[in-house]
Subunit: 193 residues, 2 copies
DNA sequence: GTCTATATCTCGATAGAC
DNA sequence: GTCTATCGAGATATAGAC
């Protein structure tokens, strides 16, 4: 039995799709090509995903779940808020560097009409880790007096920006860690009283 | 003579394309629809743009030129570097709010395979204003000791993040200006010694 | 569940009259 | 330069045998 299980099949379809979408865009990637590279037939692909759009959205949800699972692993609610903040920041960047295609795909998806196809409650589910931390920080009154949505958005942007810089410049692992620490300090100074 | 001149025609083609791309994506927008909404025939569209890709890239270059022209208007090299920095930041945000489709399109384009089709020297042309300011800031040694590429990227990210927040929340013009000022201060603190 | 074969459609791009 | 008409390619999605 070399043949794949069902889960493995949807997995290899989504993995192939991810690789191709990042390289050629949603448009430039025919479902037939996804099927071929996943090692299944065209008909099988449409057995697991009713439409191409459904496949794209499912991929987005899966990628976000992977990111959130990674962050949850490195998050302990018993830690000090500053430590928890640091962990989210640093591990978000680490994940983004270890999973560049996935991270690119998230942004590609965000700036596409596909975003409107995601069920509303999915976004809530995804942001639990961040919301929890923000609420705790508000409770402890350690944030500057600004809307928390603004603070959250600016922190996200810092992560995107830092990621972009690190991918563009080709630093050694050591220098990279120094830069991450430096950017983290800037970010903390920016949002903390 | 109600008929349009050539320039007006490429203009209305690009304007229609912008509106449609933002709404339906590059994929979801047929050239036929662009032509119809621009008030020209399909054949005419392909007279002015050899391919659809060429049209998309031309639109990107035009939009970036509009942004840069706007920033150049509000930039005076005789001003103090901090003032110039402030002007770029504030007017970038102002432009992004007055030209939301254009600003969205820039980001949509950046996260698409189309980015690779832009001639390399085009990016240099586009970044002259920012590079000039950064060089002056380096010369005057007012920046924190970090790679200037990192600083530039983080500042851009702040602008994207602030834009996203302002578009999402529905503030009065007055509150909006307060937020812009606040974010500018955070950004300055972040990068200046 | 998986495959092959194919229906159906739409799109980008061209040809050629005016 | 602009239009109408259309070609040919390639896309999504389905049908039906196994």
């Amino acid at each position: 039995m070399i043949s794949q299980s069902n889960i493995e099949k949807t997995d290899s379809i989504l993995s192939a799709a991810l690789r191709l979408f990042v390289k050629y865009g949603f448009h430039g990637t025919p479902t037939s090509r996804i099927a071929t590279e996943a090692g299944v037939s065209n008909g099988t692909l449409f057995h697991y995903f009713k439409t191409k759009d459904e496949l794209i959205v499912a991929l987005y949800i899966r990628v976000k779940e992977q990111l959130n699972a990674y962050l949850a692993e490195h998050q302990d609610e018993k830690d000090d808020v500053r430590v928890r903040f640091r962990n989210i920041f640093v591990h978000s960047i680490n994940w983004s560097l270890k999973n560049r295609e996935e991270f690119y795909f998230i942004q590609q998806f965000h700036f596409s009409p596909m975003l409107a196809l995601v069920p509303a409650d999915e976004f809530e589910r995804q942001s639990k880790i961040h919301v929890g931390l923000m609420q705790e920080a508000v409770k402890q009154k350690i944030l500057k007096p600004l809307p928390i949505e603004l603070i959250a958005t600016l922190v996200s942007s810092q992560i995107y920006g830092l990621h972009q810089y690190l991918v563009g410049s080709d630093l050694s692992v050591g220098k990279q860690q120094k830069m991450i620490e430096a950017a983290l300090e800037l970010t903390l100074e920016m949002i903390l009283k």
